[in-house]
Symmetry: C2
Subunit: 318 residues, 2 copies
């Protein structure tokens, strides 16, 4: 068992095994979790976190892979976090359809990690920010967070990112469905992938129309661009990178980046606090204190609210 | 605005308006909630709580109504709580298909209340026990808790009751489906309603077989009886009442009633405590303390765990 300090030092040097070990430690709520997080805190804040969401079949993993290639050409170190909210399996193994990622498997400047959130305490809100922090501290300059599998957690993924990319594809009929599902509120950059297919212009036009339906924007406001790509041939990917850089610059100029990160940290703190308090109560389940209080409630000596007060007092003292 | 003490006194006299007002107070998490619960505590424990669950179409409300009639013949005061987990509407209004309940609408010895749990803080686990306590304190000797609408909360309803009745009907193909869904574990008494229809014997036999598949029971163990009824003609209802009385006597003899009630109170205390702690954290959302902690996390001065510790310390002091 290596100590946390040396693991962190090795991760800083870009050793993938150390990064993997640290993510496992933070993901599994291990006893060293707090120690790891404390060690990482001063090393974080350098990474730019990009979330990629979209329905299955729009080409999320192909696009992610193409973006990795583009950022690598710029010499940036890249982390990829592939989140599968429906899978209980986690760790290094990538899903079958993510073959394209293997293009990067021998590149020491890329760290790829898949992460399951089903069954995890607190789900995505709990585990993703911690894994992002590990990649950040390990020196990844760009972190791409991608959902694998069926959506529903788009909004949650977006809430973890500095910039959210929403992917659509023509002729799937899901562009507008997705829009109705609230995706119009979360996209900072829109990508119409598979733009060599029929209907790409119509999808882009429709999206443009729907985005325009929102309230009119002020002069300093961000207007989400729509970029057409063919990710499998890397067409349009440089334009996506450019749109991301513009959005990042705009956020920095207007204080939005700091705002988003603070909001994210606030949510994370609250999630941890609620989980910790729940756990303290859960630990007491079957405990003599709860049993004794319950018997007094059954006997009518105490009402359940005063019993809960006593329980809380007992928990917060300890 | 009447004071709580006089409302409780009137409810004890059986005045339906006072009972209704008290349930509204406890259901709506009003400022007087705690005062009401404290006033009720010494008056509770007398009622026998029977839960009725089953798929839509098995005749739950007809059976409930027939049971009310049977208990009224014995001169007992009866409360009915019709819980609809899918409806946001609550209060005195009964659903359209519960016409048979109107047989009892002019009987002062019966109090009927429908209760919605969707959208309620904590749902059923939060609001049902409090309404049950009001009916208990108001002098109801038997309280029938019935789910209206689609199931899924069978197990939750059962956890609120002293005795759980599971209703099935022949030829619906749902008997065994229900069994697979875990209903075999929650029934203390099984009722095959609509026993005049084809397949009633087969349903009862199949159920008997499946219940027998469980681990063998010891000499003092409870073996759930299967009663056949035609609730619309009140056939078999006296046998159901008899089975309930036997189960109650068995529970008292073996200390099971006290055990179940203590377990129920323990869960309720925990639910209230968790909800209260969540609310305290929720109140802080957007509060300067969380914001200040979040900024320190973003700056890397503090990790999210230590920030959560500080947040919890701040909450539990106040």
């Amino acid at each position: 068992m290596q100590d946390v300090a040396s693991l962190v030092a090795q991760a800083r040097e870009g050793r993938p095994r150390a990064v993997a070990r640290l993510i496992s430690l933070v993901e599994g709520a291990s006893p060293q979790l707090r120690e790891v997080m404390a060690a990482l805190a001063p090393l974080t804040g350098g990474a730019y976190v990009v979330g990629l969401t979209g329905s299955p079949g729009v080409g999320k993993s192909t696009s992610t892979s193409a973006l990795v290639t583009a950022y690598r050409k710029q010499g940036r170190r890249v982390g990829v976090l592939a989140v599968d909210p429906s899978s209980p399996f986690s760790g290094g193994a990538l899903l079958g359809d993510r073959v394209r990622m293997s293009d990067h498997s021998s590149d020491p400047g890329v760290y790829i990690r898949s992460m399951a959130t089903r069954g995890h305490l607190g789900g995505l809100a709990w585990s993703a920010p911690q894994a992002i922090r590990v990649l950040d501290a390990a020196g990844c300059e760009v972190i791409l967070v991608e959902t694998v599998g069926v959506g529903q957690s788009e909004v949650e993924i977006a809430s973890q990112a500095d910039t959210s990319v929403v992917l659509l594809a023509p002729g799937m009929g899901d562009g507008i469905q997705a829009a109705k599902a609230g995706i119009l509120e979360i996209g900072d950059v829109y990508v119409v992938n598979k733009a060599d297919r029929d209907g790409a212009d119509a999808t882009a036009r429709e999206l443009n129309h729907m985005l325009g339906l929102g309230e009119s924007r002020g002069p300093g406001d961000w207007r989400p661009p729509i970029v057409k790509t063919v990710a499998s041939r890397s067409e349009g990917i440089d334009e996506v990178v450019e749109a991301l850089e513009k959005h990042r610059a705009w956020m920095e100029e207007h204080g939005v980046l700091a705002e988003r990160r603070a909001a994210r940290a606030a949510r994370e703190i609250e999630t941890i606090a609620v989980t910790a308090l729940r756990a303290r109560i859960g630990d007491l389940h079957g405990d003599r204190r709860v049993g004794a209080l319950a018997e007094r409630v059954v006997a009518g000596e105490l009402d359940a609210y005063r019993a809960a007060d006593e329980l809380i007092a007992g928990i917060t003292e300890s």
